[in-house]
Amino acid sequence: MVAVDQRLQQVRFKVPATPEDIATLKIGSIVYLDGVIYTGREGVYNRVIEQGERIPLELPAVSNVNFHCSPAAAIEPDGSYNVGGVTATASFRFSKWMGKWFELSGAKIIIGKGGMSGQDYRDLFVPAGAIYLTTVGYGTGALLGRGIKRVIDVFWAEELGNAQAMWVFEVQNFGPFLVDSDLEGNSLFEQQGQLINANLESLYADLKPPALSRFGETDNRKDELI
């Protein structure tokens, strides 16, 4: 086993994150957060951006961290909350809303699963001064669940359902996350993918071509499907 902990940089800071905090982050660093974060995914984006509803809390004063997440959580009849595990959902699907969301919310950190394309980082994140943190694994639901100290509020639970609602969490030592993109738009996923691509052709070298080709799909295995 490789001794990892000495070699990967580890940082912890408060939310709302300052521009200085964000500027220190290098791709591949391990991050833990304290403060307030909120969830928002297609249901919330659709409501705010497509339907023009007001964001129901003061952003970015309360928080500048948007988590692409639905918690495994229940709202009790007395209005209390039971939060079990917390895990991210794949972010690439939200690309079309992110530019407008940065404008409206002032978000500087997006947490999610799997990152976004290098193009999105360069076109949307860099101009907004925002970076991307990816969850680890991806199923550290219990570790992240431990980091949630309190549900501050839930918006649109009735309209969107628990999974798509906007949850506002107070968090402590919330992580681990890995920095995927930095302020220059470099991407850890992109760099790792390029290293792996170098080996791909050799895997197929001895395999004969298929009897039936497929229509309408990429045949370049170095491409990503997102």
Binding site: V4, C69, G84, G85, G139, T140, G161, F189, A211
Partner: protein
């Protein structure tokens, strides 16, 4: 007669076990992969996952918040008699799903595909899925639940006999590379490969191979068992680890299930059961006694039979 309440409670209990406690066979395989993994980032991911399994069990909270599409596999002994018959049994499974969603809690993932209506209980039209199989000469009922995410990592392709083993390898590589990038498949995975059958059966067999056989289990046909190992090694030679980082930990194990198919074709499906490979089984004996385990023992000599008549 097996009481209704006993079935409902057993169905609830396995939902809780599946969501929280990682099966030992899979956990052990991740420990072993972490020992051999040479990539710093991939090793960090595997160690974090092992830590997460411990946190889930210690806190009694779900190991992954995407509790997938919770569903049931039911194996009914030919002599088993559930109270109220099979309609009541299906009701018990739907009731347990709704109760578990609120009480554990599970994420209420199930929505209408068009209107996105969420009833917040993981029950709805055609949900949860209930797969049935039967076993001769016994009077118990085995309930298995699987919590598997469902967005990435599964694919289907019609291959042809002339494509042979090369075609199988090509498609497997394509599927693992495509969905392995950025770790969308949440690897290292237990990979299930369905070969043959009708198109729908091919998908079902591959899914069951991934979710209902444990790490280390080999197909009873020695030639298929050998192919399983060969394909597992192929997957781990891609150079990709967890989260699509450079590494060697892609496939925790690989299982193949076959079904007799059309003479002109060789349909194939690929499924990946993820870093939170959640399954739990309970055997409900005729007297209502419950026995829990993590090996579903879904495939049996009877279920894989190739003769008209069944004889032991």
């Amino acid at each position: 007669m097996i009481p209704y309440d006993c079935i409902e409670q057993a169905a609830f209990n396995i939902m809780e076990r599946a969501a929280i406690d990682i099966p030992e066979d899979y956990r052990q395989s991740i420990v072993e992969l972490a020992d051999t993994e040479q990539s710093e980032l991939s090793c960090f991911v595997l160690k974090t996952m092992i830590e997460n399994y411990g946190a889930a069990t210690a806190d009694r909270r779900p190991m992954c918040a995407d509790t997938g599409l919770p569903r049931y596999y039911v194996k009914v002994g030919n002599d088993a008699r559930p109270e109220g018959g099979f309609i009541a049994l299906e009701k018990a499974l739907r009731s347990a799903t709704a109760r578990a969603t609120h009480d554990i809690p599970l994420r209420p993932n199930r929505v209408h595909p068009l209107w996105r209506t969420d009833l917040n209980n993981n029950v709805g039209i055609n949900a949860p899925e209930i797969d049935w199989s039967f076993e001769p000469d016994v009077d118990w009922i085995d309930l298995t639940t699987v919590h598997k995410g469902g967005l990435f990592g599964t694919d289907y392709r019609m291959l042809f006999p002339g494509d042979g083993i090369d075609g199988i390898k090509r498609f497997l590589l394509d599927a693992l590379i495509a969905f392995g990038k950025r770790g969308l498949a949440c690897q290292p995975a237990i990979v299930g490969v369905g070969l043959g059958g009708s198109k729908d059966a091919c998908m079902v067999l591959g899914k069951q191979a991934a979710c209902l056989r444990i790490v280390g289990d080999r197909h009873p046909d020695p030639k298929i068992a050998k192919l399983e190992m060969e394909l597992k090694d192929l997957g781990n030679s891609i150079g990709m680890g967890p989260m699509g980082f450079v590494g060697s930990s892609m496939v925790a194990d690989l299982h193949i299930e076959v079904g007799y198919t059309h003479t002109g074709g060789m349909p194939m499906s690929v499924h990946t059961f993820c870093l939170a490979s959640r399954r739990a089984t309970v055997r409900i004996h005729a007297d209502g006694h419950l026995e829990y385990r993590t090996d579903p023992q879904w495939f049996s000599k009877y279920s894989r039979r190739e003769t008209v008549e069944w004889s032991q």
